[in-house]
């Protein structure tokens, strides 16, 4: 029975499975490709992964937590990094500036969420409006182009192994270590699965909220800065990264209801999406067909990978007794500890 299987299977399996299937299809469709298809996929994946990791932390901090400002912050980060880098002549300062910008934007969300008590989705929506206003102002009469050295590094792939991807992989490992081995990580997941309970257990939930949103903002801006250095800054650079980051995180097996974060899954989801786009372009599907297929694939992966305990689906602070009510979901909770 599926349940029993799922006991064994780690939550990120499905995303990688999907990615591999798409990869195989790609090879089948085009007689050629070899390792380069993978190399190039790993060249563009890291940016989405960085944004996804931030989004993942936010989402696993509890029901209703989501950061819809990533797209605009991403673009903003790109513009600022290039502009500052151009003025100061140092790409390091450029990235630093981008990080600072992401931090500032995220602080707006944090203030709105914690002090003004605005639901995250609306608070971050407001933030993204503000971010895009700043981007637009910046873009007017914008000067500057990416630092050649950084750009070189970003597309540098010795033996077909993209160096930047390796860096982000290491970062991903650090994130999962953070979640597994550190006290903060544990406290974050505790808040994620039951905020009230965690608070009574002595966890400072506000601290967690501040942490996840700031991280998400900073990562988005940083990813934007790097992406812009990889090609060129642009006010619309980040637009695709909002929906994709959410989809990638959930396909990766992170619980939308919080309490379970799966960093590895973010890679799986990102590769799946990127390879899928490649495949669809390859077989020259009409844009319409591409979307229908993409949609059904997302639903299908969900269908297989699902098993989020019904406990507080959507959002659940007001759903007592769920575990007792929906016994069938119990075994699906078990493997997560």
């Amino acid at each position: 029975m599926i349940k029993l299987e799922r006991r064994a299977i780690p939550p990120w399996t499905w995303s990688f499975l999907a990615a591999i299937i798409v990869l195989v299809l790609t090879y089948i469709v085009s007689g050629r490709g070899g390792s380069q298809t993978i190399t190039l996929a790993f060249t563009i994946a890291p940016y989405l992964v960085l944004v996804g990791l931030g989004q993942m932390l936010v989402m696993s901090a509890g029901p209703g937590n989501i950061d819809v400002s990533v797209a605009k912050v991403f673009s903003l980060g790109g513009l600022i990094a290039i502009a500052v880098g151009d003025v100061t002549g140092s790409w390091v300062l450029g990235l630093a500036a981008a990080v600072a910008a992401g931090f500032a934007m995220a602080s707006i969300s944090v203030i709105a969420i914690l002090l003004v008590r605005i639901p995250p989705i609306v608070a971050t929506l407001a933030t993204s409006l503000i971010a895009s206003a700043i981007s637009l102002t910046l873009a007017k009469g914008f000067q500057g182009s990416p630092d050649p050295m950084l750009k070189g590094f970003l597309s540098w792939a010795p033996f077909g192994i993209p160096a930047f991807a390796v860096v982000v992989l290491i970062f991903t490992v650090l994130v999962s270590l953070f979640l597994k081995r550190t006290i903060w990580g544990a406290q974050m997941l505790a808040v994620g699965q039951a905020r009230r309970a965690a608070e009574y257990a002595g966890v400072n939930a506000s601290k967690v909220m501040v942490f996840v949103y700031l991280t998400s903002g900073v990562l988005a801006a940083l990813a934007g800065a790097l992406r812009a250095s990889f090609s060129a800054p642009n006010v619309e650079l980040g637009n695709d990264y909002l929906l994709d980051s959410i989809a990638v995180v959930v396909i990766g097996g992170t619980l939308m209801t919080g309490g379970r974060a799966v960093p590895a899954g973010v890679w799986g989801g990102a590769l799946f999406f990127i390879l899928l786009d490649g495949l669809l372009n390859l077989i020259g599907w009409s844009y319409a067909g591409q979307n229908v297929l993409k949609g059904f694939l997302v639903l299908a992966v969900l269908f297989l990978a699902s098993g989020a305990p019904i406990l507080g689906r959507g959002a659940s602070s007001s759903k007592p007794d769920h575990t007792i009510a929906d016994d069938h979901t119990e075994p699906e909770i078990k493997p997560l500890s």
Binding site: K140, V235, L275, D277, G284
Partner: protein, 330 residues
């Protein structure tokens, strides 16, 4: 219109400000309009950019707010070729001179000022075909899916390719004429493609070249966007020789302004007037680089005289031969 004597008030409705083209268009317009106001051609002008991501509904709301002001001339750079029709109809009914630019509409009462996307496609495609010496593999990078310009351009491209049977199409994606999207689309598929000699497209050359560089492939002949950044990049020797930079002219807004003023003053003007796109070839490239800011798109600097000339060419039906405006200088 009734009192051709007194000067018109002008309102420009722009759907969004999200990309370099629209910004250049607004900049060019604001410069020209301020000058026109000073020269006493218009009474006053108002530029309004709808919030949101090029959303038709936002622009409709914005247009209706503008209609409350009852301007004499309404210039529209629309979010969608059809969605505004009912609203624009209302404007016509109020006796406002309505001119749509950088797009088209089948609304009778509206004047259309536009570039010939056919020309754009012809110029860029031909350049690439010549660049690769009339034979080889090409990719077609297509524009904004479903937009009338893209459809018009695609027709021209296909017929030109028919005329050159040695040019083989090995791939075709929608890149929205956006260099970042083109880069991702290409990186996603490049490995599965044979040798590529040229990329026929609508100004995503920058991203295309970068994708090929990343993949360590030979750089094909491409069509850049005439943006400061792309021209510089091109000038630094990226992009195979024979590449070109073509794009519809952000100066259209200005052209539309002067055209509309003429209409308001009772001059006879065809419903649709064609203006030339901006073309940058190897020779003039460095001249243009000097004139264009990094995040700007090169645009013709239309003046009333130039516009009148172009209008005349339109009326005489000899647009093709009409002289191009001079390369602007900074």
């Amino acid at each position: 219109p009734a009192m051709a004597a007194d000067k018109p008030t002008v309102a420009l409705s722009n759907a969004f400000l999200g990309n370099a083209w629209r910004r250049s268009m607004i900049t060019a317009f604001e410069e020209a309009a301020t000058k026109a106001e000073a020269d006493g051609l218009i009474a006053s002008f108002q530029v309004s950019n709808a919030p949101g991501e090029n959303s038709a509904t936002e622009q409709i709301a914005q247009l209706k707010a503008l209609l409350l002001d009852e301007p004499d001339i309404l210039l529209v750079n629309p979010a969608s070729p059809t969605a505004l029709n009912p609203t624009l109809q209302q404007a016509c009914n109020m006796g406002i001179v309505v001119a749509v630019f950088d797009s088209s509409t089948d609304l009778e009462c509206v004047h259309i000022v536009t570039n010939s996307f056919g020309d754009w496609a012809r110029l860029s495609t031909q350049a690439v075909i010549d660049g690769i010496g009339g034979k080889g593999n090409v990719i077609i990078a297509r524009g904004v899916q479903g937009s009338p310009p893209e459809i018009e351009m695609y027709e021209v491209q296909t017929e030109l390719l028919k005329a050159n049977p040695d040019v083989k199409v090995v791939g075709e994606f929608f890149t929205f004429c956006d260099s970042a999207k083109a880069q991702e689309a290409l990186l996603g598929t490049i490995a599965s493609l044979p040798e590529v000699d040229g990329v026929i497209g609508c100004g995503e050359g920058l991203g295309a070249v970068q994708a090929f560089q990343t993949a360590g492939r030979d750089i094909p002949v491409v069509a850049f966007a005439p943006s400061g950044r792309a021209l510089k990049f091109w000038g630094e020797g990226n992009g195979a020789p024979g590449s070109v930079a073509v794009m519809s002219d952000p100066g259209q807004g200005v052209a539309a302004l002067f055209t509309a003023i003429n209409i308001y003053n009772g001059q006879e003007v065809p419903r649709t007037t064609i203006f030339p796109p901006v073309v940058v070839s190897d020779e003039e490239r460095d001249q243009w680089i000097a004139a264009v800011g990094d995040d700007e798109i090169a645009s013709w600097q239309w003046t009333q005289e130039l516009v009148d000339a172009q209008l005349k060419a339109n009326i005489d039906g000899m647009v093709a031969e009409a002289a191009l405006p001079p390369v602007p200088v900074r």
